[in-house]
């Protein structure tokens, strides 16, 4: 009786739920199973306990990838958000057509397919005839091998990354700026606050929830960076990470183990380790927020 009454509801959600269960829930569960097995996709999986996990944790590539990731995140996330906030404030100070124009111009790199940003920049970074090196030449500076010198590679990636992500975060921050009541600024002006004081004491605190989202989202996506370093280094499954693995990141390492080394159990375990790291960072972010809210 009750089932019959509710049947139409279940029929409407059934297509989504079936796909969701098959291509989201099942892979997570099966991935967890594989992560404790040695499996190359052909032979039957062989139970190995936590061997996959310990092997990854002790591998040199994992240490390199995590080290690169730590430096990358420590620079790209704060820098990207600072630039995005600057852009949002800049665009917000214009009105009408020009506000729209600058917003769209800054957003344009986001619109490009993600894989394309990396490929275009590879040409700009190219040694000798690349645009950037030609520009350096004008100032009498020598050619820099941006993508093949292990001390500059990471920064070359960060530049591309900020070029793309700034516009994306800017749009989100702009929406947040629009929600700040103008009376607050007027009251502050009457109290004699200058522009800078207004930003520090009104804009940033009022933007806090949106900033929190942007920081958390940037962290989560930065931890899974793949397309850009993969394409900047011209990687393939047999050779990736660039010179001296200077642009080796966890997801690249995981994909390499799966499709280069054909070790699916190990790759699945890698996914869980990375997820654990991401969940930890996200949880820390939320803890930090509730701690600062209580203060």
């Amino acid at each position: 009786m009750s089932l019959r009454r509710h049947l139409p509801h279940y029929m409407m959600i059934a297509p989504f739920m079936v796909l969701f269960a098959a291509f989201f829930l099942y892979p997570i569960i099966s991935g967890f199973f594989y992560s404790f097995h040695d499996w190359n996709g052909a032979r039957p999986p062989e139970y190995v306990g936590v061997a996959n996990y310990t092997k990854i944790l002790h591998s040199r590539d994992f240490a390199t990838a995590m080290g690169n990731l730590a430096v990358y995140i420590a620079i790209t996330v704060p820098l990207g958000i600072l630039v995005a906030l600057g852009l949002a404030l800049l665009v917000d100070s214009f009105t009408g057509r020009w506000a729209n124009f600058f917003r769209n111009a800054y957003f344009m790199p986001v619109v490009l397919p993600a894989f394309l940003a990396a490929t275009i920049w590879r040409w700009i970074y190219a040694p000798n005839f690349g645009l950037l090196n030609v520009a350096l030449g004008w100032f009498g500076l020598g050619s820099i091998n941006f993508l093949n010198n292990s001390s500059t590679m990471l920064y070359s990636l960060i530049a591309v990354d900020v070029w793309v992500s700034a516009g994306f975060n800017m749009v989100i921050l702009l929406a947040g700026l629009k929600n700040i009541p103008t009376e607050l600024y007027e009251a502050a002006r009457l109290d004699g606050a200058n522009k800078w004081q207004q930003i520090v004491h009104i804009t940033v605190p009022m933007l806090a929830p949106v900033l929190f989202f942007v920081v958390t989202y940037s962290l989560i996506s930065a931890m899974q960076v793949f397309d850009k370093p993969w394409l900047l280094t011209g990687s393939s499954f047999t050779s990736y990470g660039g010179r001296r693995n200077a642009l080796l990141f966890p997801v690249m390492d995981m994909m390499g183990r799966a499709f280069g080394g054909v070790k699916f159990g190990e790759a699945a375990a890698y996914g869980f380790l990375l997820t654990l790291a991401i969940v930890t960072v996200t949880a820390l972010m939320f803890a930090l927020r509730s701690w600062s809210a209580r203060k």
């Binding site: 509710h6 139409p8 509801h9 279940y10 409407m12 959600i13 297509p15 989504f16 739920m17 969701f20 098959a22 291509f23 989201f24 829930l25 099942y26 892979p27 997570i28 099966s30 991935g31 594989y34 996709g41 600058f102 917003r103 111009a105 800054y106 957003f107 344009m108 790199p109 619109v111 490009l112 397919p113 894989f115 394309l116 490929t119 275009i120 700009i124 005839f129 690349g130 645009l131 030609v134 070029w163 994306f168 989100i172 702009l174 929406a175 947040g176 949106v210 989202f213 989560i220 899974q224 793949f226 394409l231 011209g234 995981m254 994909m255 996914g271 990375l274 997820t275 991401i278 996200t282």
Partner: protein, 281 residues
């Protein structure tokens, strides 16, 4: 008096200069790509950095060569079909489910929706390998459905549509029911038309995402017959490719055109869609 009038102008000039400079940085790489394509072949790429296009016909000729003499056109078609099928599926399945989750109550609604929301926080890194293995076990590698189907249950799309469908007035649904409309008719004739805007926004965002997707096609369609634009562009740019810079840039530009066109037409919807995903998510 003079201080009051001149100081703002200095700041205004600086502000404009900064805004224009940043716009140049943001747009120049795209503009440069256009210039390399629309110039005579053989001109040095950037010893004299090309600041404007010099030859329209040469650019058209390069595009013709790419389309007729390489695999590019097929990849274009495949990416387009991949995107269209994904959009159709995400919108259909997402809106059907969103209709129920937002407007009705039934046993299990809260827990199911809770699981879907939770899934938004699960990184792709953990699902991509097992999803690939499942696709492979189903025998779907190198097929269009292998490319499309695993991406159809979009939790993000469902969440976005639920936000919009919540605004559908309950009275309208009751009135339609009293008039004898079936459950599906209410969805089709009332809920869908009312959230057309959200559907369009979701379709555009899904297009951008699918067109730019690199990782999933890279592992699922490893045969040249099913290469997407992303993969072909990757080949053109690979260190082993024997293409000239002109050809590589043409390949790059062609990959950028559909999303750029979409943006020029739907800029407002795209920007609002991104902003909304941030402020409501």
């Amino acid at each position: 008096m003079t201080v009051v009038t001149t100081r703002p102008t200095i700041w205004t000039v600086l502000k404009w200069a900064l805004a224009i400079l940043i716009a140049l940085i943001a747009l120049f790489p795209i503009w440069w790509m256009v210039n390399v394509v629309f110039s005579m072949p053989g001109e040095p790429v950037s010893l004299n950095p090309r600041l404007w296009p010099t030859s329209l016909s040469a650019g058209i000729e390069k595009i013709r060569v790419i389309f007729t003499e390489t695999e590019y056109l097929r990849a274009y078609g495949i990416s387009l079909i991949y995107a269209v099928l994904t959009i159709a599926g995400v919108l259909t399945f997402g809106s059907l489910a969103a209709f129920e989750f937002s407007l009705f109550d039934f046993p299990g609604r809260r827990i199911l929706f809770g699981i879907i929301l939770l899934s938004l926080m699960v990184p792709t890194a953990v699902t991509i390998i097992p999803t690939y293995l499942l696709t492979s076990q189903l025998g779907w590698l190198n097929t269009m459905h292998g490319l499309v189907v695993p991406g159809l249950a979009s939790a993000f799309g469902l969440f976005m549509l639920v936000q919009f469908m919540r605004a559908v007035p309950k009275d309208m649904i009751e009135a339609a029911r009293l008039d004898g409309a079936s459950h599906f008719q209410i969805y089709w004739h009332i809920a869908l038309p009312l959230c057309r805007n959200a559907m369009v926004t979701l379709a555009i965002l899904t297009f951008m995402q699918t067109w730019g997707n690199y990782m999933w096609p890279l592992i699922v369609s490893s045969k040249p017959q099913l290469y997407t634009v992303g993969q072909v562009v990757g080949l053109f740019n690979s260190p082993l490719s024997h293409q000239t810079v002109d050809m590589v840039m043409t390949a790059n530009l062609l990959a950028a055109i559909p999303p750029l066109l979409f943006f020029l037409i739907f800029q407002r919807k795209i920007v609002e869609g991104v902003a909304m995903s941030g402020t409501k998510g």
